[in-house]
Symmetry: C2
Subunit: 193 residues, 2 copies
């Protein structure tokens, strides 16, 4: 999960990295306390201890900034998904789930904020779409299962897992990622009762 906006061939200036990092830290901290819409550019740059104008060198507004942060999250998530391209998820979902739980653990602060009450619904929907596309890639053959209930099944699983992520983050990721992956896999496969 790098903070850069794209895959620039040349690495960014050290000052730019510093600026974006400070802004991201400040935003993460503010989002723990209030809605994104209540956050002003002024208080963000004050907290990051920099000039207000500097913010506008990189972001159009605070929503644009959050979106760019989410972009870098999805780049990292895409990498994880790519590693498990050949997994037969319908038999074994644990491996990819384990990597996901580990990723979340490594990025607790920002993940916690994105899924918090002050978080972003759009993030959930982008997540849902990513999984949807992956599922369609993995099971392009099963024509008989392509009834409408397909949409409901993956939505149920994706959002269900998000719920588990939330609960896990809420408890500061106490349980080991391995145990969580096993639990999630069991609920997907055998239900929750």
């Amino acid at each position: 999960m790098d903070q850069s906006n794209g895959m620039l061939p040349k690495k960014e200036d050290r000052r730019v990295r510093r600026t974006k990092k400070l802004l991201t830290q400040a935003l993460t901290r503010l989002l723990q306390e209030k809605q994104i819409s209540e956050i002003t550019v002024r208080e963000l740059t004050d907290l990051a201890d920099m000039n207000r104008g500097t913010f506008y060198l990189y972001y159009r507004d605070i929503f644009d900034m959050l979106e760019k942060i989410e972009d870098s999250m999805f780049e990292a998530l895409d990498d994880i998904v790519s590693l498990h391209q050949n997994d037969d998820v319908s038999r074994q979902a644990k491996p990819i789930l384990l990597d996901l739980f580990r990723f979340i653990e490594e990025n607790q602060e920002i993940c916690s904020v994105l899924l918090s009450p002050h978080g972003d619904m759009n993030f959930l929907h982008r997540l849902n779409q990513v999984v949807r596309e992956k599922c369609l890639q993995l099971w392009p053959n099963k024509e008989e299962e392509k009834d409408s209930s397909f949409e409901y099944h993956y939505s149920f699983v994706v959002y269900g897992c998000v719920g588990v992520f939330r609960a896990w983050l809420n408890g500061k990721c106490q349980e080991p990622a391995e145990k969580m992956a096993e639990l999630a896999d069991a609920m997907i496969r055998r239900g929750s009762l």
Copy 2:
């Protein structure tokens, strides 16, 4: 799902009902297009065709307004949950699920918006808490199941159902509520694979 802010003994003035209804319609419509934070009081009252000052007679700001709308949603949800107090959800979840799907169908616009990319994470969390309390009431005895995985199970189910709600609303609630309740019940009970 009434629009009143509380349990006022006296019914509100007709003008007040009209004003709040117009504002709610305008907000619902605007939330289909943009984030709540991008909505100004001016454009809201312009769309509702009323004076800007009138808004401030009832709401502190637009977030306050959304919160009050959500409050009335939860009142309606509480009523539904109360009707199923004696249900043994672990055996039969269909009845309460059916009522929930019907409620969503009857309030498509606002539900669709609340769960959309422009929706509200806080709404999900309030929903999660409501279900959590109900679950704790219903199974106060099963001590052996009160390990940490309890938190994960109901979170999985609640968020999973939200995902199904989302998908259903996305397709304009084509499938009958009965079928959806059955499907959701099956996924909760027997998993999604």
